[in-house]
Amino acid sequence: MVLTGVTVFASFIELGDWNIVLALTIASIKATLVVLFFMHLYYSSKLTKVTMIAAVFFLFLLLALSMTDYLTRGWLTNPGR
């Protein structure tokens, strides 16, 4: 559990870095640790695991499918033919 504390400091060191991916990776590692051990998901039933995975999956759908619109707004808007 102290490991989780360490990651906070890891994110400090990376402050100068613009790379959001790294910050989010650290956040995700932290989150995973919290979910698995603080919240005992690691020791929980399959059903609970499936539930959690489903939640993350649908959140991903919400974000990803929304972004299919926003990231492709510029495509195909110019006159063709």
Partner: protein, 227 residues
């Protein structure tokens, strides 16, 4: 069913459950489902955040640079510590060390208030700097930073909405932990019956989780541009 007629004195088995296992399973699963709804609840805001961050990246950078990273990071640490004491508290409830559980949960509450206090200091700073969205919104340094203050306002709208909602969850969480502490001090829980402790613990960890994502998203966007 016989169990429905027999009051099990200290652990309230509700009449419609066959046994304690079923009741515990149901309440834990129910709590996880509730957390799913919470994830989606914050998910809407994360979606808005993602869209606008992609659209107005520079404004988001400018907005994030007004954040006090030290306070934010301290708060992250505070919350993780509170989660730790919460997890240990649940563990104590599980093995029947009720007194220890009460102490650990009190520590959790103290950390919770600590978080809210630090957050309050930050809010106050933003407030006096007119960094609250609405007609009085002002963002200095927009000209120099080369960003449109109105887009920075979107950043702040999301900042207030996300952290505000999170703070509201914290307040509810402190209320719930207080309830557990009072009930626990009265000896309501035992290794056979501690679902409420576990569920409040799950809730607390979830609130912690949200912050774990809010911190890098809102505070650590970039230090590079504009300084």
């Amino acid at each position: 069913m016989a169990t429905s007629d027999i009051e099990i004195a200290e652990h309230s088995l509700q009449h419609h459950f066959a046994d304690m296992d079923q009741q515990k399973d149901a309440s834990t699963f129910g709590m996880w489902l509730f957390l799913v709804t919470e994830i989606m609840f914050f998910g809407g805001l994360f979606c808005a955040y993602l869209v606008y961050r992609a659209t107005y990246y520079q404004a988001f950078v400018a907005g994030s640079q007004t954040m006090n990273i030290w306070l934010g990071a301290t708060n992250t640490a505070v919350l993780i510590c509170s989660s730790l004491s919460m997890a240990l508290g649940v563990r104590c409830a599980q093995i029947g060390k009720t007194k220890m559980m009460v102490v650990l949960l009190l520590i959790t509450i103290v950390f919770g208030f600590g978080f809210l206090g630090i957050k309050g200091v930050e809010y106050h700073e933003h407030w006096i700097n007119h960094q609250f969205p609405g007609p009085n919104f002002q963002f200095e340094g927009a000209e120099a930073g080369g960003v449109n203050p109105q887009n920075v306002q979107i950043y702040f709208s999301l900042y207030w909405a996300m952290t505000g909602l999170h703070a509201l969850h914290m307040i509810i969480g402190i209320g719930l932990v207080t309830w557990i502490v009072i009930a626990g001090a009265r000896g309501a829980y035992s290794p056979d019956y501690y679902s409420p402790v576990e569920n409040v613990g799950l809730y607390w960890h979830f609130v912690d989780l949200v912050w774990i994502y809010l911190f890098p998203l809102l505070y650590l966007i970039s230090k590079k541009h504009g300084g």
